[in-house]
């Protein structure tokens, strides 16, 4: 997977740093130097690396004297924040028009335009129920139109072509006319690969742009691209006003630093990532995830670090002691649940723990709703009831349920969950005593 080696490198840098208790100019300098090399080896553009390093340096030095956090944690956080900023904060979808949405795919030869055209069509047809028309505008590369035709057939979407003895501008015009007339939702135009310095071919794209006015002009960027990728992106952007970038071949072992560089220097959003050879292998590009991956946060250690940051340490200590002693009421349950939510969405946590299955969006949504129900039920109880949920009689439960607009069943569910948690606490305490689980709770609660 892309970025993994970069993540490894960062991790080894941070490991080295952990052995020291304080950031000094000297020890930061060596770590910074290694970060620089790592980024350059990942094909991040030289100028971007320079700017990135400057930012990290300034921020790390400024905070050093003021805070008492572990220097490596601080540097992780600063690097992470910087990378997230560099990669852009949002993930961005295609801008769909009310009527026909026209998309033009452009890029260098071999960057993956035709395959990505197919993948986009697949996504729009099967996930979004759009009526899609593909148009083959690559009249130059032998069999390029056949290739797209075959893909269209595979996907069972319609395909527009006029052969190879025709001006691509005309194909674009006719394709759009057809798409409008026959009520398509989306028209995707696959253009021929070209060098950004090929004036005649760039003019052709400009003409298509002027004639068809696509809603999206997407540049394909190969994850393996080197330092020159920013020049390519800049030139295409200047001529065509790109609306976004698709990174292709991210399933390779290239680190894909070009993604960072292009986003940083052009501000263009990276909208999709190609992650395999099959038609379904197109994913949304998640900048935050990518930044996490760069920093190698795929381990429990970072979960601990994030948790530490999110919760008030003293509060956590008190909490832990109470829980261990079995003095654990519904207020504590709620607090615990809220802490977990503060650490990050459940999805983000699952992502950080190796081997943990990823939660779907629906599951995450369900977890959030559950939290709301719990809060409503617990808030509707008296303080005494919250501390001693076992004493709740049927009539009490009725009152609580009415008070929060829930049913008795939901009140019972909250109490059952509390009982389960309490039982788990007891087991953990026993395990800790017998030495099976050294040091505190998972998630870092109360670890001193």
């Amino acid at each position: 997977m892309a970025f993994e080696s970069l993540a490894d490198k960062f991790q080894s840098i941070f490991k080295k740093m952990r052995k020291e208790d304080k950031i000094t100019e000297t020890n930061m300098a060596s770590a910074i130097k290694e970060i620089r090399v790592a980024l350059l080896e990942a094909d991040v553009n030289f100028k971007v690396v320079k700017a990135f390093i400057e930012d990290v340096k300034t921020k790390a030095l400024g905070q050093d004297v003021l805070t008492k956090v572990n220097p490596s944690e601080m540097l992780i956080k600063i690097c992470h924040d910087e990378l997230v900023e560099l990669l852009g904060a949002d993930n961005t979808d295609i801008k769909y028009e009310k009527g026909l949405t026209t998309i033009m795919m452009v890029g260098l030869q071999g960057s993956g335009k035709t395959t990505s055209t197919g993948k986009l069509a697949n996504l729009m047809k099967n996930k979004l129920n759009k009526k899609v028309l593909l148009a083959g505008l690559d009249v130059y590369r032998p069999a390029a139109i056949d290739q797209l035709g075959t893909i269209a057939k595979q996907l069972n979407v319609d395909f527009f072509e006029m052969g190879t003895e025709v001006n691509p501008v005309e194909v674009a015009t006719k394709a759009k006319e057809t798409a409008l007339r026959e009520g398509y939702d989306v028209l995707i135009m696959d253009t021929a690969g070209r060098l950004q310095i090929d004036e005649a071919l760039m003019d052709e794209l400009k003409n298509i742009n002027k004639t068809v006015h696509p809603s999206e002009v997407l540049l394909l960027v190969d994850a393996m691209a080197g330092q020159d990728a920013v020049n390519v992106a800049n030139a295409f952007n200047a001529d065509l006003r790109l609306t976004g970038v698709i990174m292709s071949k991210l399933d390779g072992d290239a680190k894909g630093g070009a993604a960072l560089s292009i986003k940083y220097l052009t501000g263009l959003p990276i909208k999709f990532a190609g992650i395999g050879e099959k038609m379904a292998d197109l994913d949304i590009f998640y900048p935050e995830r990518m930044a996490d991956r760069i920093l190698g946060m795929g381990d429990v250690v970072s979960l601990v670090e994030k948790a530490k940051e999110a919760i008030d340490e003293k509060d956590a200590e008190k909490q832990a002691r109470k829980m261990m002693d079995g003095d654990f009421g519904l207020d504590d349950l709620l607090k615990q649940m809220k802490m977990v939510q503060k650490i990050g969405s459940l999805g983000a946590i699952a992502k950080m723990i190796p081997g943990m299955p990823k939660l779907t969006d629906e599951q995450q949504e369900a977890a959030k709703n559950e939290m709301k129900i719990f809060e409503a039920v617990i808030n509707s109880m008296t303080p005494y009831e919250r501390r001693h949920p076992n004493c709740l009689k049927f009539s009490h439960k009725n009152r609580v349920a009415k008070g929060c607009g829930m049913t008795n069943a939901e009140v019972n569910r909250v109490i059952r969950k509390w009982e389960q948690s309490k039982e788990m606490m007891k087991q953990m305490k026993a395990m800790q005593k017998s030495g099976k689980m050294p040091g505190g709770f998972p998630g870092g609660f109360g670890r001193r």
């Binding site: 090399v37 350059l40 080896e41 990942a42 094909d43 553009n45 030289f46 260098l108 030869q109 071999g110 960057s111 993956g112 590369r141 032998p142 069999a143 390029a144 056949d146 290739q147 797209l148 035709g149 075959t150 893909i151 595979q154 060098l195 950004q196 310095i197 190969d222 994850a223 393996m224 691209a225 080197g226 330092q227 020159d228 990728a229 020049n231 390519v232 071949k249 399933d251 390779g252 072992d253 290239a254 680190k255 630093g257 070009a258 050879e277």
Partner: protein, 326 residues
């Protein structure tokens, strides 16, 4: 005489032949960003200092030469400048070019670029690479080259995976007027190789070129498929494949080294063809690949026309990239 001066002299005296012109034209865009920056740099500094070397480092890294090789080159220059008291920027630049040249030559054996033909029976060339580097186009160009030299060429379409790949090669075979062996879509590429080898032997073909599907080097099963194709071919024709070319896109960054390493593990790479050198990329990755793996560049793609594939010539490459007619 340093290499830089040597190149200048050689190419200024030499009546420009077609090859030099192709190199100079094909590399003109790369040169603009590389040579003119070097030149500009040497004009901005009266003598070299720390900042000078930092800027030099930047120019090399931006040419995709790679961090470790760049650091090595710049450190050598620093040492030389201190030891021999060289402070003049243009002299340092000449030393750099010398170092690049010497480094390349010393990293591998002597270089003969043309395909080495067997005395008897078909010579087999296997063409490999990641997706989208220009394998099929390079094969067409190579076929043209050797057909023009009077060799009989057979194309074998072993990319049974990508939609339209077989069709693409068929169109080339038609245009070139050479035979082609194809298999079933999504069939076993090794069996197409088998058919190709049989045909090549029966028809006494001089050069059989096998087009393979693009594959990312971290896909173990696809790399194994390549190993299998190698085995099948070698069973049918003695010592085949006799040549295996890895195609590398000039726009590739540091991943190029990983590509060369991985493909070398499953097949005996005898040369690299670097494509798309007519763009603005400098193709510096070939220096790193040579440095780390000793694999020579055999051919260089300098344009879209069929004739735009040239034998790789280090003199011409460095002249085209660094000197040329500014």
């Amino acid at each position: 005489m340093g290499l830089f001066a040597f190149l200048k002299e050689k190419f200024s005296k030499k009546k420009k032949d077609e090859k030099t012109e192709k190199y100079e034209k094909g590399l003109s865009k790369s040169r603009q960003a590389f040579a003119s920056r070097l030149d500009d740099l040497s004009k901005r500094y009266a003598e070299v200092n720390e900042e000078y070397f930092e800027e030099l480092e930047q120019i090399l890294i931006e040419a995709d030469v790679g961090v470790s090789l760049t650091i090595k080159l710049v450190e050598e220059l620093l040492e030389k400048s201190e030891e021999e008291g060289i402070t003049e920027p243009s002299k340092i630049n000449e030393e750099l070019i010398d170092a690049m040249f010497v480094g390349y030559v010393e990293s591998g054996g002597s270089i003969t670029n043309e395909i080495h033909f067997r005395e008897n029976g078909p010579t087999v060339l296997l063409v490999e690479g990641v997706n989208g580097v220009g394998k099929t186009t390079s094969i067409a160009k190579l076929s043209k080259r050797y057909m023009d030299q009077g060799k009989s060429v057979l194309l074998v379409a072993a990319d049974t995976f990508r939609a339209g790949a077989v069709e693409q090669l068929k169109i080339w075979a038609n245009r070139l007027g050479c035979p082609i062996i194809t298999g079933k879509e999504n069939g076993d590429p090794a069996s197409v190789c088998y058919d190709g080898a049989k045909y090549a032997v029966e028809h006494n073909i001089d050069l059989m070129i096998v087009d393979t599907a693009g594959r990312l080097q971290n896909k173990a099963n696809l790399m194994q498929e390549l190993a299998k194709m190698n085995r099948v071919i070698s069973r049918e024709i003695e010592d085949a494949p006799h040549e295996t070319f890895l195609i590398i896109d000039a726009t590739t960054g540091q991943n190029g080294v990983s590509q060369a390493k991985s493909f070398k593990e499953v097949s005996d790479i005898t040369g690299i063809v670097i494509t798309k050198m007519d763009g603005t990329s400098k193709g510096g990755i070939i220096l790193s690949i040579r440095e780390e793996l000793g694999v020579p560049v055999r051919f260089i793609g300098l344009g879209e026309r069929m004739e735009d594939l040239e034998e790789f010539d280090l003199d011409e490459y460095l002249n085209g990239l660094l000197v040329g007619n500014k």
